[in-house]
Subunit: 344 residues, 2 copies
């Protein structure tokens, strides 16, 4: 089913609450959210049920034929989406109140605002996207499964290979197992290189221990897992820090459930890490939402005062870093439910 | 040399012309343009030479140590870049005129504008990026060479394989040959699937003929090539359209040089295609600039009234599409010089 009616229904409810007559969706990721396909253009949704148009260009005209059957009308505007939009709005909805999703670029916003004075920016879809439906969770779960299999597949292969070779191999295997591709450029960092939370894979051969941070994309939805692989001669501090990171992750996962204030979860986990003596080795927050994007709302850090809600999908990824020596991180993906978190 | 002084010098000249005291650069691609590394944050450049700060977070603190030696001061702002920026500006540059590169998101712009009333958005870096320096052309050339080798490598392999398998293989080989990865998700479309300009690779086996649109990234810079592979039983219309596409590409390449008006080049090429009887089979423009992004300025279409300038790097990619039958496209990358275009 290419066109997601229930997501559209929720959006229309929000349009009513916000008294917006017509909503413009311009970001390809948000088009994917509703249409389940990759396309560029502007989706025009009216509060009134009879009105959903996709303004796009000739590159997509034939791929969009089965969307037309699902109550979306396709409008080709080869000399610019804005011109197509103006024609459409002047014909049907002149004077109505317009909204646009605020993830739009400044440039496009200024052009729209110049054309349509009664335009406001809102974050309705970003809010909707935070709570995943069953199909979305199924896809994330599949992406996580592919990622887990792919990382397990290098356990006996990585030692002595170049970090870059292993990175390329991970991306290849993701696709062999049915993934769309990588959700982000995998981090494959051995020894001291792992001390950089955002390390770049090098030509250098892997030895001692390895940090792998990798995620498949499956039908548009992202996974994000981090695993440590250990061989021999591991520095004592790395060994100890790994124990603390695993404990911290377990603690965080045990706290995940609907209603928890995000910063309280993070503070409890960071307090545990501090008590173990690693106060100065925390370089980043505890995690982030994921879905169509690998980083999306909610952010799991000590500043976020929001509560966890059922249907959110977030990562938990405590990490500790020791410049010149190395770093350890462990990351899982968890679905928030009413009374618990379910690790995917 | 991580920090590009000559690019910064050109930016400062533009700041003087536009009477901007302080310029904010927020987009990771633009940070890469100046710093030649992947980092998130805000780069603050003053017209006055003694002032360049990078506001970033703890994830990058140790990777940035050799940038500090190159006249960029690193400021860590773990509780938000905006707070770090406010502290910095209130300390040094209160009341000065601020500019920000207009590729910023609306959301970040509104937050900045709320804090700094004297803020204007400009497109200085996007203009600078259109004209490539020698190092940038060298990297694009290397990316094109990798891409050409990778596509040639499937000529005897692709028949009978799944489109998806070949896509995964292309991406793997790009990395084996030293590329960072794919500049975009490769299009591998056989038979009727090639009639979609933005076709998605399928599980289906490749037969008859194949359209491959693929690009390596090399040290941040993109390539973009399209090649047709033919085996047997090629529909007559495809064979004829391919001849026309190749002629059209040669015609376009012969017209590329400094001073040519872009829409005139496109019109001449499209007129040739129309005379050959394929007026209704053109679904997209003739090409686009490329560099750090696979699609950037200038766009090569019949609406662009700009002139080509020496140092621009653009694709030329005429394509013709026949729904239900297939499509043909051929694409090269060309550097604009004073008296000619040089195909990479």
């Amino acid at each position: 089913m290419p066109f997601n009616i229930s997501k559209l229904k929720k959006l229309r409810e929000l349009l009513a609450v916000n008294r917006v007559d017509l909503y413009l969706i311009c970001n390809p990721l948000e088009l994917r959210y509703f249409l389940d396909m990759e396309v560029e253009g502007i989706l025009v949704v009216s509060q009134n049920k009879n009105y959903t148009y996709l303004i796009t260009d000739g590159r997509y005209q034939h791929q969009l034929q089965n969307i037309e059957n699902n109550n979306v009308r396709v409008v080709l505007a080869n000399n610019g989406y804005l011109k197509g939009l103006s024609r459409l709005i002047n014909r049907y909805q002149k004077g109505k109140k317009l909204g646009v999703e605020g993830t739009i670029s400044l440039e496009l916003y200024l052009k729209l605002k110049n054309e349509f004075k009664n335009l406001t920016s809102l974050f309705l879809i970003r809010e909707l996207r935070m709570i995943k439906d069953r199909e979305e969770i199924t896809r994330i779960k599949k992406a996580v499964e592919i990622t887990r299999t792919v990382i397990n597949g290098i356990r006996n292969k990585a030692i002595g290979k170049q970090e870059k070779e292993i990175k390329a191999y991970l991306e290849y295997r993701i696709q062999s197992l049915g993934g769309d591709g990588s959700a982000f450029s995998p981090i494959v960092a051995s020894g001291a290189n792992s001390a950089y939370p955002h390390a770049y894979p090098r030509d250098k051969k892997i030895s001692k221990f390895l940090l792998v941070d990798c995620g498949a994309k499956y039908r548009g939805y992202c996974a994000d897992l981090t695993r440590m692989l250990f061989w021999d001669k591991i520095p004592k501090v790395i060994k100890r820090a790994y124990e603390v990171v695993i404990e911290a992750k377990q603690l965080a996962l045990s706290l995940v459930k609907e209603g928890q204030v995000i910063k309280d979860v993070v503070t409890r986990v960071e307090n545990y890490i501090k008590r173990e003596g690693f106060k100065d080795n925390i370089y980043h927050g505890l995690g982030h939402g994921l879905g169509l994007e690998v980083h999306e709302l909610p952010y799991i850090n000590r500043y976020n005062t929001q509560k966890l809600r059922a249907g959110m999908v977030v990562t938990i990824e405590p990490g500790l870093y020791f410049p010149g020596v190395g770093g350890v991180r462990s990351e899982d993906v968890v679905v928030v439910e009413k009374n618990r978190g379910v690790v995917l």
